[in-house]
């Protein structure tokens, strides 16, 4: 598989990607074979459906948002270059990259770019602000119910519990939208500095000052 993929990928193309993203040659060929295996249409680009076929993404609460992040605005196809560009955000920052000359353009995996990627995940309308609604939308995706109908039913059947009790438990277990709203409000309050009731990118960076973004937004790409 790998050999076939590498024959399809032109050498100069690899060089360009290498330069742009910082991935190594072997990483690029490996990811290219992954790319082709995702590419069911075999037309050299990936569509949203291609991504959605990855079963694990279906159980990722942010899966669809992340898929969206691969697509430039207004487009619904992404080629290998674009694919790699997005993945490059998650490349760990290597030690020798830290002290590079500052004149060169910022690599894709810099702290700022990593943060920008995360920021864009929230900022749906791309107005460079996370509004309360945008935050709330993501929160809704990420918040789950801890108790499930099956469990409740078992209890009811098994225990002669009053329906009211069970209902009460279910209500209580869920975070209500109201509560989520207040969480969103608080979060924005924490971050908001200029009082516009939304989080700008600068405020976003400020909030995550202490967070080890370099590590938390990096994965180790296999060679």
């Amino acid at each position: 598989m790998g050999s076939r993929a590498s024959t399809l990928l032109r050498e100069e193309e690899i060089e360009e990607i290498k330069k742009e993203t910082g991935f190594s040659h072997s990483q690029i060929t490996r990811l290219y074979s992954r790319f082709t295996s995702l590419d069911k249409g075999e037309n050299g680009t990936l569509s949203r459906e291609d991504f959605q076929r990855i079963p694990e993404l279906a159980i990722n609460p942010l899966g669809d948002r992340i898929i969206n992040a691969f697509f430039p605005e207004g487009e619904d196809q992404v080629n290998f270059r674009g694919f790699m560009r997005t993945l490059a955000h998650f490349r760990p920052i290597e030690d020798n990259e830290k002290n590079k000359d500052p004149t060169a353009s910022e690599p894709l995996n810099s702290r700022t770019n990593k943060l920008l990627f995360a920021f864009r995940l929230y900022d749906l309308d791309r107005d460079d602000k996370i509004s309360r609604d945008e935050l709330l939308q993501v929160l809704r995706m990420m918040v789950g119910l801890n108790m499930f109908v099956s469990q409740v039913l078992r209890m009811m059947v098994g225990l002669n519990m009053f329906v009211s009790q069970v209902l009460r438990m279910m209500v209580g277990v869920n975070i209500s939208d109201e509560q989520l709203g207040s969480i969103a409000d608080r979060t924005i309050q924490e971050a908001d500095q200029n009082g516009d009731n939304s989080i700008s990118f600068n405020e976003f960076i400020k909030v995550l000052e202490k967070v080890d973004v370099e590590q938390k937004m990096s994965i180790r790409f296999l060679h």
Partner: protein
């Protein structure tokens, strides 16, 4: 608290009474012979000899603890010096005083005292408070370092010293290869006591901490085993050792290590089982943990298995179950008491290490031997760490950086175990025992004092990642979760799923069997720490709720409209005692269910009582913690190929359903507006199975298979319980014919039969009558529920949740995997809009 004191006193008595015989300087012949004939009745008599032994022990403990107290009162001092080093210094001073008074060192740390009384509490505490998840996640790295690293340390030091000895660097010493290897093995192990003492003060990041700590804990076991093997070899004598003996030695090494661990796990199971029964005796409940922990140590010891490993694994294994089974009070008691003992004996050990040095009779100086030992230990430790970590890094998702390796190497503190072992040596066999003792002492001092003191500046200087500070802000907390999800997704997309397959299997096994067998069905506590905080906060809320209620007059108002609120806990408790008989074999363990139920009660209160705003900050944090989806896997587990979905099954199911639904909707609206969901989802399912490039189609079925078990009510159960007013769910089980006569009639008369037998009526009804407006949550709470208006349950069940995937997750339709779901009317915004 009575339990706490009971336990403490009990254990202290044991320690005191037994150790009097083991301490030198306490006179064994105190009991007899001071009976003088008396001429008159004495009012008081002087009985020093009766009490001397225990008294001295108690005094020693007191003195060393006071030293610790004094240090902790001087933060300026402890900022620079590690506590362990300071305690050793105090030991020197005390030793000097004793030596000055007695002219001979009467106090000395005896191996027996050390191994039987001082060490077990430390080991048990380390195991019991081990962060299980991280420990298991890094188990590979820990084991490699603990086993291979220790063997390497021992062998390299032994061989290195042997080479130098042959080369004549040490002058004339009466020793040999085997003896030097023995010495190497006893001093090879990094000492948990010293390491914990230093690393806990430094606050390095969790991964680094768990690796160093886990290694130090496990390699003690390894080192003792090695020590015994080499000791046996020395006794056999050089010529008698052939290949067979060496193979036997290797086998014995593994038998001892694994046997010890197994004994520990067996005792862990015993404790867990026992604590299921101790509800009626809460006062001695905590004591069982200590007794069993100690017994696991002793049992392994008399089976000549590794006692340290046994005790460690006993603690590691039982903590989860025990903490769930015991009452909250007992858990606190165990935790506190465990810490008291561990910290106490740690303190005593360090003081004794200092005292032992002030004894001219043990000091033998051999410049070559001592300096070479120090050098070799230092150098070989680093070499071992670098090589092993390099190998491990090939398999780790988050490789350990150079800086972390440096700290790991530098954290190779030797300590009391080495000292205890070296005293065990038989002077007749080892002519250079005293040299070994003094070298060991120097090594301990060198590592604990010098490396201990310089550790903190080094960590600062190298900018080692520290333990993450508390997530003070909600934004950080939310973002951290976002990061987790992102990383998982990116890994999935790039097709490199690092996952520990065995860990996942273990998880399933645990869910299915261990929780059922080992956990008390009435245990109402959660297994995780965060829940405990949450629970505490809720208790506080409840208290202020009561106060608020009393301020308003009486709590009677609670009874008026929502009686169940007050009765709820009680009812719940009693009901759940019947649980195990009723449940089928597949049920989700009860504590899991209960965990969720406990906060629910107080959350209710929280909603009802708006006056508790002051605690909302906390609550918001913990609510989030409780409810945010966990990242699918722990990133630090080292990489394996299988893309196994390791998440709480229901959660997975829920997200999956939700995602599928939203995709379906966007598909419908985007493409044609004609719903052909069946085809679409089937198609995607097929694709998943066929084309998942990770080649594990079994996962697919795994994702979809949960629905079935949820509806397996046996006939007997539902029939038996139906009379009691339970919800007649069983009646809808896929048309299987279980009819609950009490409610069926009513249902029939009030409601059209559902169009599809598979779909519960509320779903069907909701589908038809999409204009249902949800009453507010609070309104629902106050709706009087009686069996006669049960019918209304259907729409309400729907509307209580903004999240319709909740229902989908469990509707029988999921038995078919991704079969189309009837569109549900209530979207987040709309349903809620009415009451927000």
């Amino acid at each position: 608290m009575s339990g706490l004191w009971h336990g403490k006193i009990l254990m202290l008595m044991v320690v005191l009474t037994v150790s009097r015989h083991s301490l030198p300087g306490t006179n064994a012949s105190t009991g007899n012979g001071t009976e003088n004939t008396i001429t008159t009745l004495p009012i008081v008599t002087w009985k020093w000899h009766h009490t001397e032994g225990p008294y001295l022990v108690a005094l020693w403990v007191l003195v060393s603890w006071i030293c610790k107290l004094v240090f902790q009162l001087n933060p300026a001092l402890t900022n620079v010096f590690p506590e362990s080093g300071l305690l050793i210094c105090i030991g020197w001073v005390l030793g000097g005083i004793i030596y000055g008074a007695d002219k001979v060192q009467t106090f000395r740390l005896q191996p027996f005292t050390f191994f039987y009384y001082l060490l077990p509490p430390i080991v048990l505490d380390a195991g019991y408070s081990m962060p299980n998840k991280q420990f298991m996640g890094n188990l590979g790295a820990i084991l490699v370092h603990a086993v291979i690293g220790t063997v390497w340390n021992a062998a390299s030091l032994g061989l290195g010293l042997w080479g130098c000895w042959l080369g004549g660097a040490m002058g004339h010493l009466n020793t040999g290869l085997l003896q030097l290897l023995l010495f190497g093995s006893l001093i090879a192990a990094v000492d948990p006591v010293a390491v914990i003492a230093v690393f806990e003060e430094v606050h390095v990041n969790e991964v680094l901490y768990i690796i160093v700590f886990g290694e130090s804990l496990l390699n003690d076991g390894v080192t003792v085993v090695l020590f015994n093997v080499f000791d046996a070899f020395v006794s056999l004598g050089g010529p008698a050792i052939n290949a067979v003996e060496i193979i036997k030695g290797i086998i014995s090494f593994f038998v001892v290590a694994f046997g010890g661990s197994l004994v520990g796990i067996a005792f862990g199971i015993l404790i867990s089982l026992l604590t299921r029964l101790t509800k009626k005796t809460p006062t001695i409940e905590p004591g069982f943990i200590f007794v069993f922990g100690y017994l696991s140590y002793l049992t392994a010891e008399f089976l000549s298995l590794s006692a340290i490993l046994s005790c460690t694994f006993c603690g590691v294994f039982c903590q989860k179950y025990v903490n769930t089974n015991m009452s909250e009070k007992s858990v606190n008691t165990v935790r506190t008491t465990m810490k008291v003992f561990a910290n106490g004996s740690e303190t005593v050990i360090f003081v004794f290490l200092g005292i032992s040095a002030i004894d001219p009779s043990i000091w033998v100086w051999n410049t070559g031997f001592i300096l070479l030992t120090l050098l070799f230990i230092f150098v070989f430790r680093f070499m071992g760490v670098f090589v092993l970590t390099w190998i491990l890094n090939q398999y780790r998702l988050v490789p350990l950086g150079l800086i972390e390796q440096l700290v790991m190497g530098y954290g190779g503190l030797r300590g009391a175990v080495a000292y205890g072992l070296v005293f065990l040596l038989d002077e007749n066999k080892y002519k250079e025992k005293n040299l070994m003792i003094s070298t060991t002492l120097l090594v301990v001092y060198f590592t604990v004092m010098l490396q201990g003191i310089t550790m903190k500046p080094l960590v600062n200087w190298l900018k080692v990642k520290r333990a993450t500070t508390d997530e003070a802000m909600l934004a950080e907390k939310i973002m951290n979760r976002t990061f987790d999800h992102m990383l998982v997704a990116i890994e999935d997309i790039s097709g490199q799923i690092g996952h520990n397959y065995l860990w996942d299997k273990w998880h399933n096994f645990e869910e299915k069997w261990l929780f059922r067998i080992l956990m008390n069905p009435t245990a109402r506590k959660s297994r995780d720490y965060i829940f405990n905080i949450f629970h505490q906060l809720n208790l506080k809320d409840a208290m202020s709720y009561v106060q608020e209620g009393e301020r308003r007059g009486s709590l009677a108002f609670v009874r008026n409209d929502s009686k169940a609120d007050v009765d709820f806990n009680k009812q719940f408790d009693t009901d759940f005692t019947d649980m195990p008989d009723i449940m089928g074999p597949d049920h989700i363990p009860v504590p899991f269910v209960l965990r969720d139920s406990v906060p629910s009660v107080s959350l209710n209160m929280h909603e009802q009582d708006q006056k508790m705003r002051e605690s909302e900050d906390f609550n918001a944090h913990h609510l989030l913690q409780q409810h945010l989806y966990k990242g699918r896997k722990q990133r630090h587990t080292y990489s394996r190929k299988q893309p196994v979905v390791n998440r709480d099954e229901d959660e997975v199911q829920e997200i999956f359903q939700r995602t599928m639904r939203s995709r379906l909707e966007s598909f419908k609206s985007a493409k044609m507006g004609v719903a052909q969901p069946k085809k679409i989802t089937k198609h995607s399912k097929k694709d998943q199975t066929e084309k998942m490039s990770n080649g594990k189609p079994a996962d697919d079925s795994k994702i979809h298979s949960y629905g079935d078990e949820d509806f397996e009510f046996s006939e007997g159960d539902s029939a038996g319980d139906a009379a009691g007013g339970s919800f007649p769910m069983a009646a809808y089980k896929g048309g299987a014919g279980i009819v609950n006569p009490a409610y069926m009639a009513e249902m029939d008369s009030n409601e059209p039969m559902p169009p599809m037998p598979q779909i519960p009526p509320w779903l069907a009804e909701a589908g038809e009558d999409s204009s249902n407006v949800a009453p507010s949550q609070r309104a629902q709470l106050r709706l009087p529920w009686t069996p006669t208006n049960l019918r209304r349950l259907a729409p309400l069940r729907l509307s209580t949740h903004s999240n319709d995937s909740f229902l989908l997750a469990d509707s029988p339709a999921t038995q078919e995997g991704t079969e189309p779901q009837p569109p549900l009317p209530l979207q987040d915004g709309r349903g809620r809009g009415t009451h927000m």
